[in-house]
């Protein structure tokens, strides 16, 4: 449904995001996890055609965001970090205006507004001025605004920020209930939020993707294992068994790299047991070329650490 391919955005010399690549399947909820300033909002703004990318492409429902923005905008519902509300309108007149500019048919408009109000349970505030709504209801109205034209894709930028714990639970349940019919990308800097709502997570840090996986896998890896990434030129199965012989190695996963006879291996090891030098020696001793070797989990852990500490701040 959504394909993001080597997306890069620079502001002058500052790189907001670099080489961001990921896909989202139809009906999936993808979590976009990263500390503030990691490039989550930038990526989302590119997907919604609000910002042009410097390099790379992004396609939503098969339409390129740069070449056919109108088609993309028709299929996307977007909730920015601050809900875009006209405070001096009533809830109904606001939704009516949004329905009009999102191209909802005149005949359908009343029905759609009613449906969407039910969905975010804001019906009893139909005639309230938007400025008199509480923060939680403003967020719901923001969601209603994104849902009004029944878009295939929903992009939600930190939908639970600034809400009280009860409201956070409600909004999360609401988002979960939307999956299936809608493909959803939601950004957050709160780790538990991701494990509660999302099927897959993209971890982004300093503009680069650090990991893409299910929340369960990520959490498991984080708790018990370290990870090492290496590229080796040599026969796949032989190298794999050789690495497995090393003490402390738990599992080895390999992928063929493009081009020459090289393979990438991702090695899971016991926690805090640095086996990098052993692996390097083993490979060189066996006469294979070691092209690259680096630890993976350290950076991942750093990201997570930052995230979890922020969550504690929120809780406090």
């Amino acid at each position: 449904m959504i394909e993001v391919d080597h997306l890069t955005k620079r502001y002058g010399s500052l790189r907001a995001i670099e080489n961001v690549t990921f896909q989202v399947q139809k009906g999936e909820i993808l979590g976009f996890l990263g500390p503030n300033g990691a490039g989550k909002t930038t990526t989302m703004r590119i997907l919604t055609c609000f910002l042009p990318a410097t390099e790379g492409t992004a396609r939503v429902a098969g339409f390129d965001v740069f070449d056919s923005p109108m088609e993309v905008k028709r299929r996307i519902g977007y909730l920015p970090e601050n809900p875009p509300l006209y405070t001096e309108m009533t809830v109904d007149s606001y939704l009516d205006f949004v329905a009009k500019i999102k191209g909802v048919d005149t005949g359908d408009r009343k029905k759609k507004i009613g449906e969407v109000k039910d969905r975010v349970s804001i019906k009893e505030y139909s005639n309230t001025l938007v400025k008199n709504l509480s923060k939680g209801y403003k967020q719901r109205l923001g969601l209603a605004q994104a849902l009004i034209h029944d878009p295939q894709v929903l992009i939600l930028d930190e939908p639970t920020v600034g809400l009280d714990p009860n409201q956070i639970i409600e909004v999360r349940q609401l988002i979960k209930s939307l999956a299936g019919n809608h493909t959803i990308i939601l950004s957050t800097h709160i780790l538990p939020e991701v494990s509660m709502t999302c099927q897959r997570v993209v971890i982004i840090s300093k503009g680069k993707i650090a990991a893409v996986d299910t929340p369960e896998n990520l959490t498991r890896q984080l708790q018990v294992k370290d990870r090492i990434y290496l590229e080796v030129k040599g026969p796949e199965s032989v190298v794999k068994t050789k690495i497995k012989e090393i003490e402390g190695v738990l599992d080895v996963d390999s992928h063929r790299l493009d081009g020459d006879e090289a393979y990438s291996f991702s090695v899971e090891t016991e926690l805090k047991k640095d086996v990098r030098s052993k692996i390097a020696r083993k490979i060189v001793e066996n006469g294979y070329d070691l092209l690259e070797l680096r630890t993976l989990t350290m950076s991942l852990e750093e990201v997570f650490l930052q995230l979890t500490t922020q969550e504690e701040e929120v809780r406090a």
């Binding site: 609000f50 910002l51 109108m70 405070t87 205006f97 949004v98 500019i101």
Partner: protein, 262 residues
């Protein structure tokens, strides 16, 4: 067209739920009413004085055309007063959308920038027209009570001129509103720009050098004078149309460039 109407309705509603509209309407009414009364009494006095003189000295009857003098001067005053009023009408158009973050809604909705701009322009122009409506009443009195009856021609052309002049100023004001998030800044800069137009007009009137002649062709205030006399000149129409087009074009470019500057 549907999208233009959607934005148009939203903007008009915005005017009438905000206090600014009522303040602008009231102040404009008070000022225009005061000037109308003043102009009317000055010319009545003058014509009475002239009539008395001709009676005393037995000269020819006075040839002072009070109704057309009144309407011409009244339109002249209105064209100056709107320089002060229009910045209040245009200041919020885009600055407020930017401040509230609703620009993000507009730019990510399936609606073109041109539709947004046209909707806003037409709404501001309509509000301006509503603002002018009560002044029709004053003019109506002049027409009803003048003898011989004054024709409607110069009055209609005067209002047409006001709308064209207003439209030109509004398009400039809307452009300036796209440059900032702050309404006060937008209003101040717009007012400054209007004053520069006014100064250009003044310097055009003061002499006959080539530069001043060029100015007088370009001055949108100068062209208004023809309309208030009942003359609709094609070149004036073209000047106003081009000015409005230029203002809206600049607005369009400015909105487009927002995406690249963010």
């Amino acid at each position: 067209m549907k999208n233009v109407l959607a934005v148009f309705h939203k903007e008009l509603k915005y005017y009438f739920v905000s206090p600014i509209a009522y303040v602008v309407l009231t102040v404009f009414l008070v000022i225009s009413g005061y000037f109308f009364y003043n102009i009317l009494s000055i010319f009545l006095e003058r014509s009475m004085f002239a009539a008395m003189q001709s009676q005393q000295f037995g000269g020819p009857p006075p040839s002072i055309d009070v109704p057309s003098l009144v309407s011409r001067n009244f339109f002249g005053v209105l064209s100056t007063v709107i320089l002060f009023m229009l910045p209040m009408i245009t200041m919020a158009t885009f600055a407020d959308e930017k401040r509230r973050g609703t620009m993000e809604l507009l730019l990510t909705s399936p609606i073109t920038n041109l539709q947004v701009i046209l909707g806003k322009f037409l709404a501001s122009l309509s509000f301006f027209a509503v603002m002018l409506l009560p002044t029709l009443l004053y003019v109506l009195f002049v027409v009803i009570y003048s003898s011989p009856k004054m024709t409607w021609g110069p009055i209609l052309s005067g209002y047409l001129g006001l709308l064209l002049l207003g439209g030109s100023l509004i398009s400039l004001g809307i452009f300036i509103s796209t440059l900032t998030e702050n309404q006060i800044v937008a209003a101040t800069v717009t007012f400054g720009a209007f004053l520069i137009l006014w100064v250009i007009d003044l310097s055009a009137r003061s002499g006959g050098t080539t530069l001043q002649e060029v100015f007088s062709y370009l001055s949108i205030l100068n062209h208004f004078e023809d309309f208030s006399k009942g003359v609709i000149d094609t070149s004036s129409l073209i000047i106003y149309a081009s000015f409005i087009f230029l203002g809206l074009f600049l607005t369009f470019r400015s909105i487009e460039s927002l995406r690249w500057r963010q």
